[in-house]
Symmetry: C2
Subunit: 231 residues, 2 copies
DNA sequence: TTCGAAAAAATGTGATATCATTTTTCGGAT
DNA sequence: ATCCGAAAAATGATATCACATTTTTTCGAA
């Protein structure tokens, strides 16, 4: 019998010149980030390999990378899942996001130019469109684009991979949040960030980043967690 | 011909019940952290596999994990190295260490008990012994123990793996620093940390952590980098 | 001696095979 | 019907194999 039979892993375009392992990694990562693999679902190496039509070898490598990023949890024996979120863990991850992203934004500030601000403004404008369309996948992607574009203006970048890994851990859950309370999505905070960048105001930037992360995730997330696991 | 012929990867005790892949990962990680693999040395999968007497499969998985943690750099084609440190990258990593570890220490503070303080004091006492003996490996290990013990009193821990990965990126270089300027090693800062913990003083804790990281690494590291790659 | 192209060796990657464990299935005793 | 244990199936891990690509070496022409 084939496990994971009803598993639906969205396909993504295979970048030519890349390895199978890399392709599997990107595809699984994408699936987790978009919530296509429901947290708690039982996964197996061979099940995934069959599901993707590949041999276990490259699948295991990709899965292990994801598990060392805590995007996949290796259970006691022979089973793996996308970890379920707990209230404590969620709070911890959001607080960490704020600490690292504020730090990274501050260090990006000296490298900010008008060209970058314009690029960020353009991303934010595109987000406004998708907000009204309720396109959650595009919103998630563009929101990440916004932050990534800001942080990577600092060329000596060490924190971006870490930030991405935190995003991945929050990904499947964040997605649930957006689904539940899409109307609360605060794009306005991005305008605050842009204003702080324009005036090169470190204090305002710190506050804007904190608010952006808090508003979008924290309040909504608390609500959802209180609902699903109350007493 | 066998590559990596003169490569010396210190053996470590194999934990029973663990996989070969895990063993390779731990062993390579240890070797990198202790500077046994000199940054810049050219590595190959098969070379490492031969060197360890294993098949390429588990080696490739371990190496890939390390490369996704930026402890190993996959060069343009068919070659890998432990990355060389640059001045910019070093500054970036130290600043990141301070940001994350200060944040993590603050969040650990509410969980601090007398038992923990005692445990930390004991670790610090043992360090004093190794300082006079100039045992760099033990010092490095115990210093990490000290910080890890402090941070992990918070049970909902999300930042420790990130901190460990930054340590690993700094590892081979930090080691060079200690070798060069062992006499500057500041264990006193740990006493400042302990004092701040005893009085539950957040401000003092932040300052002590910052000083501990800065003093031990930053100044010495700048000196070394200025020497090796000046004008 | 120097250079460059062809031959040889080595490498990364992924599929397959094998083995020890673990999980699941199934049938009989209570 | 319920429970338990043995047989059967599935799984993770690793070695081996095969193949395309890359690196290194070799060797003859300038």
């Amino acid at each position: 019998m084939i496990s994971n039979g009803e598993l639906n892993i969205p396909d993504i375009p295979a970048v030519s010149g890349t390895t199978t392992q890399e392709y599997v990694y990107e595809r699984l990562r994408n699936a987790i980030m978009l919530g296509a693999i429901e947290p708690g679902t039982s996964l197996t190496m061979r099940g995934l390999a069959d599901c993707l039509g590949l041999s276990p070898t490259p699948v295991r490598e990709a899965v292990r990378r994801l598990s060392s990023e805590h995007a996949i949890q290796v259970k006691d024996n022979r089973r793996m899942t996308v970890p379920l979120m707990t209230s404590d863990r969620f709070e911890e991850l959001i607080a960490l996001r704020i600490a690292i992203e504020v730090h990274t934004a501050k260090r990006a500030l000296p490298f900010i130019s008008d060209v970058v601000i314009e690029k960020l403004t353009e991303i934010d404008d595109r987000m406004d469109g998708f907000v009204s369309e309720r396109d959650l996948d595009q919103l998630t992607l563009l929101n990440q684009d916004f932050h990534r574009t800001l942080y990577t203006v600092n060329p000596a970048q060490a924190s971006m991979p870490i930030i991405e890994s935190i995003w991945l851990q929050l990904g499947p859950f964040q997605r649930q949040i957006l689904t539940t309370v899409a109307e609360n999505y605060e794009v306005d905070r991005h305008k605050e960030i842009l204003a702080a960048l324009s005036t090169r105001d470190v204090i305002a930037l710190e506050e804007a980043i904190t608010n952006d992360i808090s508003d979008g995730a924290w309040k909504s997330g608390r609500n959802l967690l209180d609902e699903t696991a109350p007493a």
